[in-house]
Structure formats: structure tokens, C-alpha cells
Amino acid sequence: MATRFKSDETFRDDYRYGNSDEAILRFPFPFNEDGYMYGVNIEPHSRAGSNGAFAVAFDVDEHYVSECAERATTLALEPGRCLVLPHMDAAQWDTLELIMESLAADYPDQFVLERDGLDWTWTNRPLGLHQAFRFGDATTLPHPPFEYIVRQAQGDFTLQDQRDGTLYMDGGIATTPADWSLAFDVGMTFHEWHGPVPLAHQAGVFDRALQYLMRVRYGHPARRLNWTMTINPRLDTSPENFPLWGPDRASLTPENIGAKLFLRVELQSFFRLPRSNALLFGIRTYLASLDDLTRVPKWGRRLHRVIRDLNPELIGYKGLTRYHDILVAHLAQFDDGTPTTAGIAPDVAQLP
């Protein structure tokens, strides 16, 4: 892996953050056509022949070291952001095993997992960690197993118990949430935690998605993309801290919007966990500014069309209301009306 990790980025306060050209070109652009509406856009995860963010189970990119430091900061300030109900203990170990196995397999130069029966040794070179422990014995790790491993992964995660014909969110970590609270939502069913999403319920989207997810098998993970927008490259857009980041929504101007407004894409992945039979959801968050994305001509055109024609209920739900007009006006300059290709690929190998 050729990644050079940026070690001193920040996602709050002074917002020292930027995407390399490579990061922009591999960005998981969420719009495969010139309009957007909810659907069951789930597909198998990591098929052969995929590249970039879709080629591996858990993507590690140039922001890895900085994002892990950001997570550590959030957890030090707000430990309740990681929470697992007691009956999900087996799922904690499942998660640790899955993420360790995956990182070691997908990035063998950076992560090493050695196993001798239940005596495991884990090496995380980017973070400089070396840990010997006994699988199944939490006293041999510095944190509970789920927390231990998600501190070394990018993105949020939730643990779902499958029972009574639905999924219950019975644990997780939410330090990069797009305006949802783990502490409030823990214990909710699939339909209940999606309650606030407009329009999708009557279209039957959640009924179908739930049926699909309950049938996800071990070794056959799935994924989908979700999106919203964030002012500044702020990962912690939690409801808890809304007083801190809410005012940013009124700070956009036509002059600063290109650099200050970020498309926030969630690569959501769904894994069956073998010992607990639970489902692990990964919520991997990518941020790229409008200035970043509009360097790709196809994406500039498409973004304008999607945002201009977005359903008003979605505009409201995604928090875009206050600045929607100046956003559309800004994006218009990148749209010359030329047709765009289907699919999300950038269609360029280098950025101008």
C-alpha cells in the first residue's frame, strides 16, 4: 500500500485537513445518475475487480492516523460515545476478530495478526501498537474488545442483535455521526432508529432493506452509500454537540462555500458475525470539499443537477435548507449541460 499517512490533521477547531489528488479520485461519489431519491441501494461488498474504497473490507486511507487520534480525543471527552449492551459480549469479540483479520489480510505491510490457539499478538504499524492478549479474556486488553479495535478503525460501527423478526441496535461507537445519537438510539429496532428519515418509509424502502439485511450471511458482506453535507471537515456532527457545529450552517457565503462546504459520504457496510450471529454495521465517513470534487468535471455537473432538483423534504432532513440557494448558485458554474455517464466513476485518471 502506497499510502502516506497524514499524522497531524484535525477535524475540529482549526480544521487542518485536505485530500490528496489520489484521495479525491478514489472518493466514493454517491450519485450514479443526475438525480437522487432513496432506494434499496444495497449491493455485495468487495467483489473481485473493485478498486479503491470498495476493494477491501475496511478501507484505510491517508487520513487513518489522524482519524484515530480524533476518535481518541472524542472518547476522552465523552466516553459514553462507545456503548455495548451486556448481552452483546460475543459480538464484541467477533468484531475484534473480523477487523483484525481483515486489516491484516488487506494491508499486510501495515497490520499483522499472529495466532497460537487463544494467544494472539496484534501489530498496528501506523499507530505504533503491539499487543499480546488472550482472545476471550477482556482483562488482557487495555479496553473492552469492541472499543479496543474500533479505536483502530476509521468510521463508526453499530452492533445489531437479530431477534423477533427485526434488528435491534444493541451497541456501537458514534464519534463521527451524521446527526444521530447512539446513547439515545441504543435498543431501538431497525424501523425505529430510521424513524426521522422522510419519504423512505412509505416507499417500503426499510421493509425491503430489513429483509435483505436479516439474510446477510457470514463471508458475504454487503454495502450501500449514504450522503449529506457538512460545513468544515468536521467528523463529530453529533446531536450532543449541535450547539458547537450548528452555527456553522449560517456561516456560508458565496465566497467561502467552495472551500468550506463538504460532501459527507457514508460507506455503510453490513457483516454477519459468526459467534454471536449478530450483524456489524460499518459507517465509514468520507469528506471532500466542493472545491475538491468540482475538480472532476463529471462530478461538478452531476452535483449541480442533484442538488438543484433535490426533493424539498430531503433538503430539510439533510440540513441543507439555510444554504441551499447559494449552494445551487455556486455549483451552476460547473454545469455546462453536457450529458454525464452513468455510474460514479470520475472518468479522469488525473486532476487538472
Binding site: D164, S181, A183, F184, D185, V186, G187, M188, H191, E192, W193, H194, G195, P196, V197, P198, L199, H201, Q202, P239, E240, N241, F242, P243, W245, G246, P247, R249, A250, E313, Y317, R322
Partner: protein, 193 residues
């Protein structure tokens, strides 16, 4: 197609006894249910065992199990004794709960802790909407909220009462309503059931 509000609020159906149940227990926060709590054709006599709250202390303790009408001094009194009752119960019981929304979910929590599933209970919340609102910023729980905005007694922020309900915690979510533009408050309205 009628618009479904973007919400996870519970929807309550009028109660009808489950013919497959071995035993039925009706629990109310008053001494009788209000109008509309029962399905057409259903009345109190269909529930030989009924618990209600009379809100005074002149209540004689009685054996917990068995047919009959039992009165409790308060909600807390009823919930404590319900836990004991369920701990001694066998499979086949259905629980029917009628009362204010906070009350029915308090009862549901006791039942869930006893191992009952959602398909063993029927809940019917009635009366003017009254909500416990959990402030997501400071975690204080503000009881007795009847309007769409409330000042948090924990941190002083004006909260909008989001239409997002936690059945497990029996609270609604409160989020600062003027974070984007401090001081810019929408009009206060009553909560609608």
C-alpha cells in the same frame, strides 16, 4: 397516498383480548379506561383481572394473582408490585395497558425486564400528549412536556421536541432548536397525539 410523518412515534391500536392467551391482565393508570381504548365490542368485563390506580392511600393490600379488580395507591406502587407478579407468572399471559403514554411504556419496561416480548403486550396511550424529553446535550430528563419547545431544566437551552422516541428509555429526544441561529425560535405549539 397519505403522508407518513417522518417519525418513529408508536401507533396504538384499540385493545382486544387475545383469544389464544391462557390469562389476561389489564393495567390502567386510572380505575377505568377512557373512551376508545377498547376495540368495538370489547368492554371491561372481558378482562376478569384488572389493576388500576386510585391515587389515594386507603387501599388494602391484596393477593397479587387471580381474578378481580385491584387498586394501587400510585403508579410507582403498581409498577413495583407488577414486577413481583410477573416474576411468579408462567407463560401464556397477555398484558394490556391503558393510560398516559409515559405510564404505558413504564409498564412495558417492567414487562420486558420480566422476559415478555412485544407480542405479549398491547399498549394504548391516551389523553393529551405528555412527554418525558431527554436533552441530548446534558442528558437531563424533562418530565411533563406538552409543547413542541421546552427550556431544559438541566442546561437552560431551548429544546425542540423531536418526533423521535426511545421505547427502552421512555423518553423523546430534545435538541437545541436555535443552534444554527441563536435566538431565532419558532413558535411554540402544543404537541399533537
Amino acid at each position: 397516498m397519505t403522508a407518513v410523518p417522518a417519525s418513529n412515534r408508536p401507533r396504538y391500536a384499540p385493545i382486544a383480548p387475545d383469544p389464544r392467551a391462557r390469562a389476561q391482565l389489564l393495567v390502567m393508570d386510572h380505575d377505568c379506561p377512557g373512551d376508545g381504548a377498547f376495540a368495538p365490542g370489547v368492554n371491561l368485563a372481558d378482562f376478569p383481572e384488572r389493576w388500576g390506580i386510585v391515587a389515594h392511600a386507603l387501599v388494602l393490600p391484596e393477593p397479587l394473582a387471580g381474578a378481580g379488580v385491584k387498586s394501587f395507591r400510585s403508579s410507582a406502587h403498581l409498577l413495583a408490585l407488577l414486577a413481583h407478579r410477573l416474576a411468579a407468572e408462567t407463560m401464556g399471559l397477555r398484558l394490556y395497558v391503558v393510560g398516559s403514554e409515559p405510564f404505558v411504556w413504564d409498564v412495558a419496561r417492567v414487562a420486558t425486564e420480566a422476559g415478555m416480548g412485544r407480542d405479549e403486550m398491547q399498549l394504548f396511550a391516551m389523553g393529551r400528549p405528555v412527554r418525558r424529553v431527554s436533552c441530548v446535550h446534558c442528558r437531563h430528563i424533562n418530565p411533563g412536556v406538552t409543547t413542541t419547545l421546552v427550556t431544559c431544566a438541566g442546561c437552560g437551552v431551548t429544546l425542540t421536541v423531536r418526533d423521535h422516541f426511545s421505547r427502552a428509555h421512555n423518553t423523546w429526544m430534545g435538541v437545541q432548536c436555535d443552534a444554527e441561529a441563536p435566538g431565532e425560535l419558532p413558535a411554540v405549539e402544543d404537541l399533537i397525539a
